[in-house]
Structure formats: C-alpha cells, structure tokens
C-alpha cells in the first residue's frame, strides 16, 4: 500500500459518485427531519401554552422521553420495532420506498422536535411578563400583543439555540447508518472498505461534515443578524 494519496479517492469516479449520493441522502434526511421537527415543535408549543388541562404534562412527557433516550435507540425502535406494528400494506409500501431513509427522518424529526420546542419555549419565556402587561395596558389584545410584542423578541432569543440544534441534527443524521440508510457516513465506510484508504477517506468525510456544519452555522448567523439588526450593529 502506497502513501497518503487523496486523489486515489477523489480521482476515482466510482468513489466520488458514492460520496455524492451519500451527501444527497444526508441532506434528504437533514431537511426532511428539520421540517418535521419544526412543525411538531410549533404544535407542541401551542399545546403547552394552550388552556387544555393535559396539554402541559403531555408535552413535558414527550420532551423527556425524546431527550432522555439515546437517539440511536429511538431510531432502532422505529425501524425494527414500530415497523412491525404497521398494517401490512403500509409496511410493504415503506419497504419498497427506502424505509431506511423514511424512518431516519421520522426518528430524528420526532426526537429533534423535543429540543426545538424547548428552544422556542425558553425564547418566549425569556421575554419579561411585564411586556405583556405593558402591551395590554396600551390597548393591545392578547393575540395582538403576542403577534407584535412577545413573538418577535421570543423568536429572536430562540434563534441561537435553534441554530445549534440544527447543526446537531445535521451531525446526528450520521446515526441513520445503523438502520442501513445510505447517508454520508455510510458512504464513507463503504469507500473505506473498497479502497482500504482509511486515513484519506475519513479525512474527506471529516472535511465534508465540517464544511456543511459551518455552512449551516453561517446561514443561522445571517438569519439571526437579519432578525436583530440592533444587536448586529452593536457586534
């Protein structure tokens, strides 16, 4: 085996295609689960702030399950466990339509929703209750105060943790390899296996993850800046 040689991997069209496909699936999982997580997080938040008696404990239970059970176990439970409870027709449809990727999206999305909903809640909670009282004293209704006073500040406060958790969601997409989803880490291991160029391929994998994670952080920083021009001007 000759020395360190990145071109042995990057110059090989077969390996490059495997890596590209891996990146594609990683993004399918990341974007799919991010959208699922954000939608659910908003629903959970609504439930938490609703006057329903069981709303709060229900959401609290959801959050503690998803935050206290390893994501890996949750993924396995979905792929190997809950799959068997599904009706025959749905199960065989899933099996023929990349069940691995779909379950990765569901598993990661449900898990991340717990984190996202807590980020949003802490953002809203950090707005002092006095603001609501002041807004109402100035003639705003509850809804109007939420819309114009509380929400803009709350979401702005929630942005940094949301970006952090988005990056962790991106990194956690690598867990999907345990259920056989052909994402980037899966592709990296595959190339390693075929090429025996362990150092080179893991280095490439590392650089790719680092690049995309930083990209997500930069997008996040840009959005935070747009949401809070005053803070951006101070910085």
């Amino acid at each position: 085996m000759s020395g360190f040689d990145l071109s042995a991997i990057l110059g090989n069209p077969e390996y490059a295609a495997m890596l590209l496909h891996g990146i594609e699936i990683t993004f399918v999982i990341f974007i799919g689960s991010w959208l699922l997580a954000m939608t659910l997080a908003i629903l959970l938040l609504g439930l938490r702030f609703s006057p329903l008696r069981f709303g709060n404990p229900l959401v609290a239970a959801y959050v503690s399950y998803h935050r206290n059970v390893p994501t890996l176990v949750q993924l396995m439970l979905w792929y190997f466990g809950i799959f068997t409870l599904m009706p025959e027709g749905l199960a065989s449809w899933l099996a023929n339509h990349n069940a691995e990727t779909i379950f990765a999206i569901i598993g990661l999305g449900l898990c991340q929703a717990a984190y996202f909903s807590e980020d949003l809640r802490s953002g809203l909670r950090s707005v002092s209750p006095g603001q609501m009282e002041a807004a109402q004293a100035l003639g705003h209704s509850y809804v109007s105060a939420m819309r114009f006073v509380i929400m803009p500040q709350g979401i702005r406060n929630a942005l940094p943790p949301l970006v952090n958790h988005s990056v962790s969601l991106f990194k956690n997409s690598s867990l999907a390899l345990i259920i056989g989803a052909p994402e980037l880490t899966h592709a990296v291991k595959e190339v390693e296996n075929l090429s025996f160029r362990t150092f080179e391929i893991y280095l490439i994998g590392t650089v790719l993850y680092l690049f995309f994670s930083l990209l997500i952080m930069m997008v996040g920083a840009y959005i935070s800046m747009r949401a809070d021009p005053a803070r951006a001007a101070r910085a």
């Binding site: 020395g3 199960a91 595959e190």
Partner: protein, 278 residues
C-alpha cells in the same frame, strides 16, 4: 519524513529482505530440515495457544505439521498477525503461510497460492415462499448483509443492491420484516439462521448456488516452482489419504461447535469456476 521517501525506504527494505529467497527455496528447506510456517496467532480453531501446554494448536497447525512430515522435515510454527500473513511470505521470513488464507486477485499478485484445500462460501438465504432459484434471480434486488463483509462484496459483484447493517442479526431481522428480499452470510451463519427460522419467524431457505466462492489455500513465495509443486503434491497426497479430513473433523467437524462438513477436494484453481475477489 515525507511520504515518498518513506515508501521508498519500505520498498528498498522489502527488496533487500526478499533477495535471499531467490535461491531455490525448496532446497533451503530440505537442507535446513525445517519448514517455517506462518499461522494465525490467536484465531481458534485455526491456530491459537493451548492454555494448558502453551503450544500452538489448531487446524492450521496440524495441517502445517502434516505437510512438514510428508516433506520429511520439522515444522516451525510462527504465529503472525492477520495482516502480516501475506507480507511475511513476501519478505521471506516464513516458507509457507497456512492461515485460512482466501484467494483474492490482489493477494495473488503478491504471493503464490497452492491448490485450495477448502472452498469457503457466501450463501444467500430467502424466505421459503420466494420464487427465486439462482443468484441471477436477485440481480437489482435488495439483499441484506453485515457492513464491510465479504458478503457485501458478493452482493455488489452480483449487481444486487446491498442493504447493510452493523451485524448479521440486524440483516436477518430486515429480511424477516420484508425490507430486503434475502440476506448473505457465510455457510455457518446462514445454516444457523435457516435452522432457527423453522421454529420461529418466517421460514427461510438457502439458495443452492453460492453467491461467492473463496478458495482457501496455502501461501508461498512467487517464482519458486519447485516449492509450489512440492506443496501441491503433498496436499493432494494428504487429501487422498484422508489426512486433511481427519484434521478437519478434529477441529471443525460434527464433534465440535462448528459442525462443518468438508466436501471439497484439493483441486487446482484453474479447475474451479468462480469469480475471484478483486
């Protein structure tokens, strides 16, 4: 030190060490009266130290001793690491390597293989109701296996789609749940799963045609025709006399936990029809 310099140094060291092997190695073995034989260091039942006697014992050790006896010399067993099985022969530090060594094209470029004495197989198992009969029926289909295994390679070579997991148990589960049409593993593992499926879960059956053959042979230096001829001659003799089967029975046969039957004969590689592993 830069990489090129490092590679050059390694290559030169290799060339230097290989020089003495240019003489007729068979003559050297006969005159020294010892056959230096590389085996695994700790892979039961092939070669591992016996906890009581601290001697190396196992199938490969016994086979090595039998070969030396036939040649009229004494065997000197040298345990080596799994990765060193090929380089040790190449560098001339041992005469032969008997370490469950599967024939692959990249290994065959570096060392000479004897006629294989066993054919390891990768087998495909599918649910009993599956209509497929040969591996050609599974081209383009999803087949499960353990990740990074020869099994995965065999799925690729068959142009099926591999669905891979960290272990064979997950791969088996995926087939049981209908996520893949079949799974591939070695004969030992697939036999176990087929037997297990008769009592619980979906019943499975084995596709008779192996996905992949891995002829297991003895490795030795290239360009030593006398030695190669001698080793092959000895292997054929040990096979006909039933000696190899006897050693097999002792370490891998029905009386052991492996319960494997050796049905293969020692035959030249050229007589085998198989797709060699790259």
């Amino acid at each position: 030190m830069n990489w090129k310099c490092f590679t050059l140094a390694i290559a030169m060291a290799g060339a230097g060490a290989a020089l003495p092997a240019n003489a007729d190695q068979l003559e050297n073995i006969m005159s020294a009266g010892t056959l230096r034989c590389a085996t695994f260091a700790d892979v039961p039942p092939f070669a591992a130290p016996d906890p009581k006697t601290r001697e190396m014992v196992g199938f490969d050790v016994d086979l090595c001793n039998a070969i030396a006896r036939e040649m009229g010399v004494k065997a000197e067993v040298k345990p080596v690491s799994v990765e060193a099985r090929v380089p040790e022969v190449r560098l001339g530090r041992v005469d032969i390597t008997v370490a469950n060594l599967a024939y692959t094209l990249s290994r065959a470029e570096q060392i000479q293989f004897s006629d294989p004495y066993y054919l390891a197989k990768e087998m495909l198992i599918v649910p009993a109701a599956d209509p497929g009969t040969g591996k050609a029926d599974f081209v383009g289909e999803r087949i499960a296996s353990a990740k990074g295994s020869t099994s995965e390679l065999s799925i690729r070579l068959n142009e099926s789609q591999p669905l891979t997991f960290q272990d064979t148990a997950s791969a088996y589960l995926a087939v049981q749940q209908g996520k893949a049409r079949g799974m591939v593993a070695n004969t030992m593992t697939t036999t176990k799963f087929v037997n297990e499926s008769k009592t619980r879960g979906k019943e499975m059956r084995m596709i008779e045609e192996p996905m992949l053959f891995q002829p297991i042979g003895i490795g030795m230096s290239k360009d030593q025709p006398a030695l190669t001829a001698k080793v092959n001659e000895v292997l054929h003799k040990l096979d006909t006399s039933g000696e190899i089967n006897k050693i097999w029975e002792k370490w891998l046969g029905q009386g052991t936990e492996y319960k494997m039957t050796r049905t293969d004969k020692v035959v030249p590689l050229t007589e085998l029809e198989f797709d060699p592993i790259p």
